[in-house]
Symmetry: C2
Subunit: 430 residues, 2 copies
């Protein structure tokens, strides 16, 4: 028997424990309508032919490299470069969709965005002096990756459209006063997980300015930007980045599919080597990756590469139908909330935000929302959601929940909100 307390401290951290618990709850109530996971809509998967994608990518490689189709196919089964195979296709798509002028040598292809986060943290955080700041509430994966590396995390409170510059300055000052430094700030400027918030272009420029003034990196997570109405899309931080302050984190989990486990980091910061040369930070990330997962499955990269080729390397084209679907679902969720919670809202018992994109809505309840309450909601009312508490770096109590509309039909959204309303009406103080 191993004493659990003798294992690494991340394993007893409340955030890791919470996520385990949530997964268990979701698995325990398979019949419940689930607003819990930010998983993409599954019917989209039926359109993907793995074999076609692999063949398309193999033809492309054969032509590009000047080898036979068979030789190109064999490459996918062998070990591959740690930095990845499809950096050039990703670079092309970033150029066409985001006017981000990135060389393929500045891209590392990763096992989902999660590995990209880990690689960036491992590279940049070299001592206990380095502190990670996160705009919170935030994606728990960044918190978990930091825990694995014993990195101290501090939270910067999210504001809709903007951020609190004075609080950010205080965080940096406070770190300095303790002999530390804020090494990087994690932020999801486009329809963040879990709140669906967005940063204005003005706030983006100010964030870049702050990063320069305080000398930290910005880790930009853009998992949900693709859900924007094209007329409302804002430039990414990376597209505005004049000073190579931004490391951009991308994923194909939502616009492709999660089962491919393909994400990437854009890290074009030039880095001095011991030999006196310089290489993009992405190459250092690849060196770390070689000791973590060796390389991202070339089979999976070929599937995503094949999808990109099918859409002429335009993420916008690849994502168009999905973007419409998710905006439509989000609208349905907000309308259902209006219908079912309007009266309670007038009484000040509940409130929610109304994002224009992303997968999520934040709903404030009159009581603290914890795992016990979730279990009650699932068991008695047949509806699942995520306590907002797990998105904060300090696990205090929180009266908010996250509602995800991504993996539901409009009919299920409507029925789910009806159940949710019954559940809320049963709460003390309502």
């Amino acid at each position: 028997m191993i004493d659990g307390m003798s294992l690494h401290r991340s394993l007893t951290d409340p955030s890791l424990q919470s996520i385990n618990f949530l997964n268990e709850v979701v698995a325990r109530y398979p019949e419940a309508i689930s607003f819990a996971p930010g998983a993409p809509f599954e019917e989209f998967f039926d359109e993907v032919s793995i074999e076609d994608c692999i063949n398309r990518y193999s033809v492309h490689t054969a032509e590009k490299v000047g080898i036979s189709f068979l030789a190109a196919r064999r490459r996918l089964f062998q070990y591959g470069p740690s930095q990845g195979l499809i950096g050039d296709l990703i670079a092309k798509s970033l150029r066409s969709d985001f006017t981000m002028d990135i060389d393929a040598s500045s891209i590392v292809v990763t096992v989902g965005c999660q590995e990209a986060m880990f690689l960036v943290l491992r590279a940049l955080f070299s001592s206990t002096r380095d502190v990670l700041a996160v705009v919170e509430p935030c994606f728990p994966g960044i918190l978990g990756a930091a825990k694995l590396l014993d990195i101290e995390v501090v939270g910067l409170e999210e504001r809709e459209g903007s951020f609190d510059r004075r609080q950010l300055d205080r965080l940096c000052d406070h770190a300095r006063a303790r002999g530390k430094r804020v090494r990087a700030l994690y932020v999801a400027p486009d329809y963040s997980n879990p709140t669906g918030s967005i940063l204005s272009e003005e706030a983006r420029l100010e964030l870049l300015e702050a990063a320069g003034a305080e000398d930290f990196f910005l880790l930009e997570d853009n998992a949900y930007g693709f859900t924007a109405d094209p007329t409302e899309a804002r430039p990414t931080l990376k597209a505005l980045d004049q000073d190579r302050r931004v490391i951009y984190l991308g994923t194909f989990a939502k616009i492709g599919f999660p089962g491919a486990r393909v994400g990437f980091a854009v890290a074009d910061q030039m880095t001095s080597t011991r030999g006196g040369g310089e290489i993009p930070l992405a190459k250092e990330l690849a060196a770390i990756k070689s000791m973590l997962t060796v390389n991202t499955s070339p089979i999976c990269q070929a599937v995503i590469g094949g999808l990109l080729l099918q859409h002429n390397c335009s993420l916008a084209s690849l994502a168009r139908k999905k973007s419409l679907f998710y905006r439509s679902n989000l609208k349905a969720l907000l309308e259902a909330l209006d219908r079912k919670f309007g009266t309670l809202a007038q009484l000040g018992k509940v409130s929610w935000n109304a994002p224009a994109g992303g997968f999520f809505v934040r709903l404030r309840l009159p009581v603290s929302a914890d795992e016990a309450l979730l279990d009650l909601s699932a068991r008695q009312y047949g509806v699942l959601w995520t306590p907002m508490r797990i998105f904060y770096c300090s696990a205090e109590s929180c009266p908010e929940i996250r509602l995800s509309c991504s993996n539901l039909t409009e009919a299920l959204i409507s029925e789910g909100v009806t159940r949710l309303a019954k559940f809320v009406q049963g709460l003390p103080g309502v």
Copy 2:
């Protein structure tokens, strides 16, 4: 510009740098005959149909879970459990081939064996007090994973057939004297990488006894055991493990294919939880994995699952043809060495070992074998190999090289050894 010295220290570690350099050299001389990488023979890949494997696994899941084929297929495109999908099939194959009685709940499916190593190290090594011992020379991936986590590594010299119990005891004593402890010993008892050495059954039992006496875990890497002549196969450490001292690390890179990036850890040690319960260590590894790569690609797991199902979950059946091929190649390499190096060996200028399995032979030269020498060998003689130095935790000079015979035909092995002989005859002191 980032100062490379401000990044994590693993990035300036000689072992990570060496591996980068080696990859560059190999890429620079594509026409050279390469005894360098331990990559599997590529023609085997042509027999694998990704689509067939995925379909076979989906049919299996549909029957097992009682869902439609379409629903089973959709699961592969979605997020999946961090612990993996094919633990039951792996458990079945371990039972049938190694008489290892492992429950699926004690298995975590990983992104190659490399991620399994990282997960185990992260879970077990909770403070700077914990030291990792490795039987060396050893697979550099375990050294690299330790570097990422700032884990101190000490080497136990490999002996053919046995190990030096007194040196092991001294390592443990020395750690204790410094207020530390040897937390685990990494060992590849079956045709180790890089030397092809094997531990006798007696030595295996003694190693298990030592682990109990000194209270450390054994990390058993069995990437190459499948190449054994069935009449010569020895029981794995895990099969002999009465006291749950062994964490078993497996990979499908060699008996399946590397591009799937599917490996696994068997960790059946019961672990106390804060709530007063107990869970297998594998579940803790899965919790760490959820913050590293979330889950191993279900697509890739389905491909490997499909291969296992095709062979009735017998690794022996899956590996039979490959095992014969690699033993035949190894024999061809040893015979070519006899032919071309026999005279030099009689003069005491060179020597090599003669493993009965695995991918590798260790050749001792009369001079130190470093990257510069490799570059010379590739440029002037058209033959690549791996300096043995990178397989040690302290990067001192070493006169040995590793020859891999896995991804060559017999004709290329013969020609490669002829070139190697010319190269060695040109060395000073020969």
